[in-house]
């Protein structure tokens, strides 16, 4: 794992959290959507916070797909769970939401989970093994060839 890949994982978490918080902030301007006033959802699309949230969530999706192209799903999902912690923090700061003791316990559990998975390998699938396999074999052959020369 390079520093660039860790940055992409961090970007996945940041874009997801900021996107959700922007959407939540935007939807506060409209109140509860019911069957009677569902057309408000269309006017919500013109709200700056909602537009910002959608742009951030598109960026989240792009970085998430990029991360999945070089890391396992069972690595990417827990490693990017930092977004839940960021969401709680941003919700408290910008939306003045109440962060309870259960939330703090949840934050502690997610942090432990992220730490546990991030310190392990990011890729374990056979596809990765087969792309490495021939290269490793080639290295062994080259090494053996060099050593066998007088």
């Amino acid at each position: 794992m390079t520093a660039r890949k860790y940055l992409i994982l961090l970007a996945v978490a940041v874009f997801a959290a900021c996107g959700d918080v922007c959407l939540a902030r935007g939807m506060r301007d409209f109140g509860a959507v019911t069957a009677a006033n569902w057309r408000w959802l269309l006017t919500a699309l013109a709200n700056a916070w909602v537009i910002g949230g959608i742009v951030l969530l598109i960026l989240f999706f792009c970085t998430y797909l990029t991360a999945l192209s070089w890391a396992d799903l069972t690595y990417v999902l827990p490693a990017t769970a930092l977004s839940y912690i960021l969401m709680a923090a941003l919700g408290k700061i910008f939306l003045h939401e109440n962060v309870t003791r259960a939330h703090w316990l949840g934050i502690a559990l997610v942090t432990i989970g992220v730490g546990v998975v991030a310190s392990g390998p990011s890729h374990t699938t056979p596809a990765h093994a087969t792309t490495q396999g021939p290269n490793l074999h080639r290295e062994v052959v080259l090494k053996t060839g060099t050593e066998s020369q007088p």
Binding site: S69, P78, A81, Y84, M87, L109, A127
Partner: protein, 126 residues
């Protein structure tokens, strides 16, 4: 609405969300490292390659189904149950499905991480 409906809805969310994640992961694995592809191809070509992948499109369909399942289930059960239960169970279901369908080696470390995150998300989503 009875809790049986709510739990059936939660099961539908978990199954469709997991199917979406697995299909997206499979699509990206088939395409390979997008960063490496981007170095030799233009951004438009990369987007076209991703958008023309069958598992990717099927994954999008399942993600949309998961979203609508969530909307319907929220009308059947309480958000304090539906939110945490579906989010945390999806983490566990993803670990099982990734082992079966993507042949990922879900080591003890990854199980531990998935369980910690699932527990944490369940508490945070309340």
């Amino acid at each position: 609405m009875s809790s049986t409906y709510a739990w059936a809805g939660i099961a539908a969310i978990v199954v469709t969300a997991t199917a979406g994640d697995i299909l997206q992961a499979r699509a990206m694995k088939q395409l390979g490292d997008l960063g490496a592809i981007r170095r030799s191809q233009s951004l438009t070509q990369v987007v076209r390659r991703v958008a023309s992948s069958a598992p990717f499109l099927l994954g999008l369909l399942f993600m949309a189904l998961a979203f609508f399942s969530l909307l319907v289930t929220l009308s059947w059960g309480e958000v304090s149950v539906v939110g945490p239960a579906s989010a945390s169970l999806t983490f566990i279901a993803n670990a099982i499905a990734a082992r079966i369908f993507l042949k990922e080696q879900v080591t003890r470390r990854r199980w531990l991480a998935a369980c910690f995150v699932a527990g944490g998300v369940a508490l945070l989503a309340r």
